[in-house]
Amino acid sequence: MTFRLKIDLERCSGHGICTLLAPASIDLDQWGFPVLRAEPLMAGAEARSARRAVAACPASALQLESVPELQPHR
């Protein structure tokens, strides 16, 4: 399974817990708000860390979506 993180910046209040739990996927900007890494897709251990970050977010501002497998071009 492949996943992708989404941040709702209107909910986020900059606690910064996500970057501690999923440092491979999330950085903080200079104001303390999360920035997703440029390559959005993840799987395996990284996706498990991301899931922990989603669960721990006090503002419920993070979501992990599963990305459908690539379809061949029609």
């Binding site: 709702d8 910046l9 209107e10 986020c12 209040s13 900059g14 900007d29 200079q30 104001w31 303390g32 708000f33 920035v35």
Partner: protein, 449 residues
């Protein structure tokens, strides 16, 4: 069409009466939006409007043909983004529930006056378009959305609505609503939120259809006025104006060192900036710089922009924003960095505070720019400014931070000589000059509802 000259304060309000202060002109052909009695006569009444343009009944009687005419016209929304109007109407109709039509006259850009002018001078043109648009999407109510303090447009609309009631026109139920005087409150998702009883703040995505509740179709005043004309005269007539990819006339507002800031000019077919400014602002030599599209718009070097056509396509081709049609002239004796800093301070204060990067980043950006304008910034501050821009881009639920960053980046490019001068020698003499662009004084009552 003649222009009416009158007193011109630097920072106008929206409460002045149109008789004294409405200016209007046309370039590139004959006017269709601002055709009719001269601006000094104020709002055109229903009799004059009907005599000039004829009845709307044939279009109201064949709404399928009207919808097809809107598709064929290629009309792009005049609120700023240029989204195809027909696509928005089709998306709303596809929901299958009765929508609400919102005629968006918020015109939050502080220096833009095109919608204000249209509402003050040609209220029936707007109301005709609203009646036709509402019927076409099956809306029985149309909201006329204004900012608080839009006294002139509200008065013109009330008189026009009374004339229509007496004449017994087949209109939807019209409601005039007043939203907060905030920069982002006129954005369509913010208008939708306001009408639903929430704070008038933008929401991410800002899709055309509300998720739950009543679908809401938000269209800019100028777009709505054009709908009424397309309904009467058809798409081929409309396509004779404008350009192939951006058909129809466009209104622009002349701002800054233009003699009469706030004058609105109808661009029937694109003309070069030089012609627009010489004809309606008395400017015969390229100015230092031009700010296109609004306060979240883009700066261009005056000499490079001088021969540029004033159209959405030509500006986009030059990497510039047409936006709300603002054309702001920066004279040679003004400092572009100081003007940009003032505008950025304003935009920072207008963040709706929903997203952290915008809430904290825009004030940081504005402070750094103010430091640069005052000549107290170092090369390190400039690097920090660049880093803030990068970290802010695309980081809002709406495009407010993106607009501020784009303005800053254009300024650093167009005024690059000034940047090095300010870094080496401190503030330039030009930064002491009286400011060129009007900044609204903060609303005492800064409510979002």
């Amino acid at each position: 069409m003649t222009a009416v000259a009158a007193r011109r304060p630097l920072a106008w309000t929206r409460t002045e009466s149109p008789q004294e202060d409405a200016f209007a002109g046309v370039v590139g052909g004959a006017a269709i939006l601002l055709a009719g009695p001269p601006p000094a006569e104020g709002a055109e009444d229903l009799d004059s409007h009907m005599q000039r343009l004829g009845t709307l009944a044939p279009a109201l009687g064949n709404l399928d043909a009207f919808l097809q005419a809107v598709v064929d016209s290629g009309l792009q929304g005049r609120g700023g983004a240029g989204f195809p109007v027909a696509a928005k109407m089709a998306a709303i109709a596809a929901i299958g529930r009765q929508p609400l039509l919102v005629v968006n006259g918020s015109e939050s850009e502080p220096a833009s006056r095109k919608d204000w002018t249209l509402l003050c001078l040609r209220p029936h043109l707007v109301l005709d378009g609203a009646a036709l648009g509402a019927a076409a999407v099956g809306a029985d109510t149309a909201v006329l959305q204004l900012h608080r303090g839009s006294v002139g447009p509200a008065a013109a609309l009330r008189r026009a609505l009374e004339q229509r009631r007496v004449a017994g026109l087949a209109d939807p139920a019209f409601q005039i609503r007043f939203g907060p005087n905030r920069y982002v409150a006129g954005e369509s998702s913010a208008v939708r939120a306001f009408l639903a009883g929430s704070a008038a703040k933008p929401s991410p995505g800002g899709g055309h259809a509300a998720g739950r509740g009543q679908p809401v179709l938000v269209q800019n005043v100028e777009s709505v006025a054009l709908l009424g004309l397309i309904g009467r005269h058809g798409p081929d007539w409309f396509r004779q104006l404008g350009t192939l990819t951006s058909p129809g006339p466009s209104l622009v507002t002349l701002v800054g060192a233009v003699g009469w800031p706030g004058r609105v000019v109808e661009v029937a077919r694109p003309v070069p900036l030089s012609q627009l400014l010489s004809q309606w602002a008395g400017i015969t030599r390229a100015p230092q710089a031009v700010l296109f599209g609004g306060y979240a718009g883009s700066w261009a070097d005056g000499r490079q922009a001088w021969d540029l056509d004033i159209s959405r396509d030509a500006l986009a081709g030059a990497g510039l924003t047409f936006g709300c049609g603002m054309v702001g002239v920066l004279p040679w004796d003004a400092c572009g960095l100081a003007e940009t800093a003032r505008i950025l301070e304003y935009l920072a204060g207008e963040s709706s505070g929903q997203c952290g990067p915008c809430m904290f980043g825009l004030p940081g950006l504005a402070r750094a720019m103010t430091g640069l304008a005052r000549g107290s910034a170092s090369a390190g501050d400039l690097r920090r400014l660049a880093r803030m821009s990068t970290e802010l881009t695309g980081r809002g639920g709406c495009h407010h931070p993106d607009g501020a960053v784009a303005l800053l980046e254009h300024a650093l490019t167009v005024f690059s000589d000034d940047v090095s001068h300010h870094l080496r020698r401190g503030r330039c003499d030009r930064a002491q000059r009286t400011p060129v662009f009007p900044i609204p004084t903060p609303d005492a009552e800064s409510s979002w509802r």
